[in-house]
Amino acid sequence: MNSLKYILTLIIGFSSLCGFAQNSNKYCIYDQVALEKYGDKDLDGARTYIDSAILMCDDLRVDPYVHHIKGFIYYELYKRDQVNDSYSSLRDTAFSAFLESNKLDSENEFTVKNNKSLRNIATRIQMNVANLLDTTNYREAIKVNNLYKETLKKGNIEVDNKPYDISFYISLGGLFVDLYENDKVANATMIDSAIHYYEKSLELDSLNFVGNLQLGYVYHNLSIDIILSMDPEDDIMTMYENQERSSNFGLLSLPYLKIAHQQQPKNTKILYGLAGIYFMLQEKDKSDFYQNLYNELTKEQEGNQVPPKNGN
């Protein structure tokens, strides 16, 4: 009886082993099934098979090609379902899969394509940032931009980020100016943020035309705003203090406007601004110089149309 039990146990044990071996083989071809599904545009099916393949088949789990395929499947799913989700889990999985493929790719068969895909994913995050750049979602834009930077670092992605960063900072600066101008009292600190981001753009490119022009605008307008918002009943001491602040902002605007003017000497808006700020700074000769240039160019550009005056 005991020997019968022993024989039965052996039979059952052997059957189980055979079953396991059959299952293991079955999973180890799931990458091919996933590829077929992917080719048939059945992305959900492809996802199920590639996940099972990696989970259940030891050989495939260390195959860089399988992770490469997984990356593509998840990337397509992300584009289909979550492309506007800045924190997409599908995108994250695709990103991790391409990274894993690189890690396993000792022969460098897939690394070039993986890296291209990693860059594409980073570009998609940039697009999310761009979509969030408005006066309502700017905080989120800053957060997602940080995510973009982390993604570059994590993926060891080498890109020349300078033009993008400059553009991002200038856009943010513009948003903060808009917020400030919408409500100069409630949003008074927003103008400091605008200055901060314009300065950051100029740290990357001190001659950037837009950065210089916009920062010049900000200081020019602050100089004037301080005076125009004074209470007409203010005492003489308060007037002096406000004049001092106004004058300081006016002086700050000059170097930025002059750099912009050097780059676009025939830009009438800059000439008009320079005439205005020198007028504000009580430097009538310099104000007249730029106002005259403005008048001449305006006549050239618009025929005999009468130009607006700064009042000087």
Binding site: P232, D235, N310, N312
Partner: protein
């Protein structure tokens, strides 16, 4: 973002108007000038007149109501407590200074050297800001008492 169109001119005009208003508040006139309206004449600067008239006309300082008058030239001028003389017409100031002194008028000018032509307070530019200088001598001749706040804030007092 756009420039504050014309904002610089508007701002400078506002500063000047506030200075003149502060002169009213910080100068003491002889007792025979403390009744009735307080008249401020603006000579040859229509924009300053318009701004001051729209901002301050009707306000009361020490029980006197502020009224503003605009004059094209000295010939049209009537008796006033303060007369602002625009640079374009200030060359005629010296010819009128004794009459203005007799009227107990505080003369405010806007060009260099006019403290020697009878002006009591003259606007000047000091470190990119509008400032003023005072002739205490001319004030004493009227006689007018310049308050300590003005004397303290003046760029110079002669």
């Amino acid at each position: 973002m756009a420039w504050s169109q014309g904002g610089a001119a508007e701002a400078n005009l506002k500063i000047k108007s506030m200075f003149v208003y502060n002169f009213v508040k910080n100068v003491d006139w002889p007792s025979n000038k403390k009744d009735g309206d307080f008249k401020i004449g603006i000579l040859a600067d229509k924009k300053l007149y318009q701004l001051m008239n729209s901002t301050y006309a009707g306000k009361e300082i020490n029980g006197q109501k502020l009224v503003f008058e605009f004059y094209e030239g000295f010939s049209a001028m009537s008796k006033c407590h303060i007369l602002y003389v625009a640079p374009d017409v200030s060359k005629d100031l010296s010819k009128n200074s004794s009459k203005l002194r007799a009227n107990k008028t505080l003369v405010v000018t806007d060009s260099g050297g006019l403290l020697y032509d009878g002006s009591v307070i003259n606007f000047i530019i000091n470190n990119n800001k509008l400032a003023f200088e005072i002739s205490k001598t001319n004030a004493d001749l009227v006689p007018l008492t310049i308050g300590p706040a003005l004397l303290k804030m003046a760029a110079s007092v002669i």
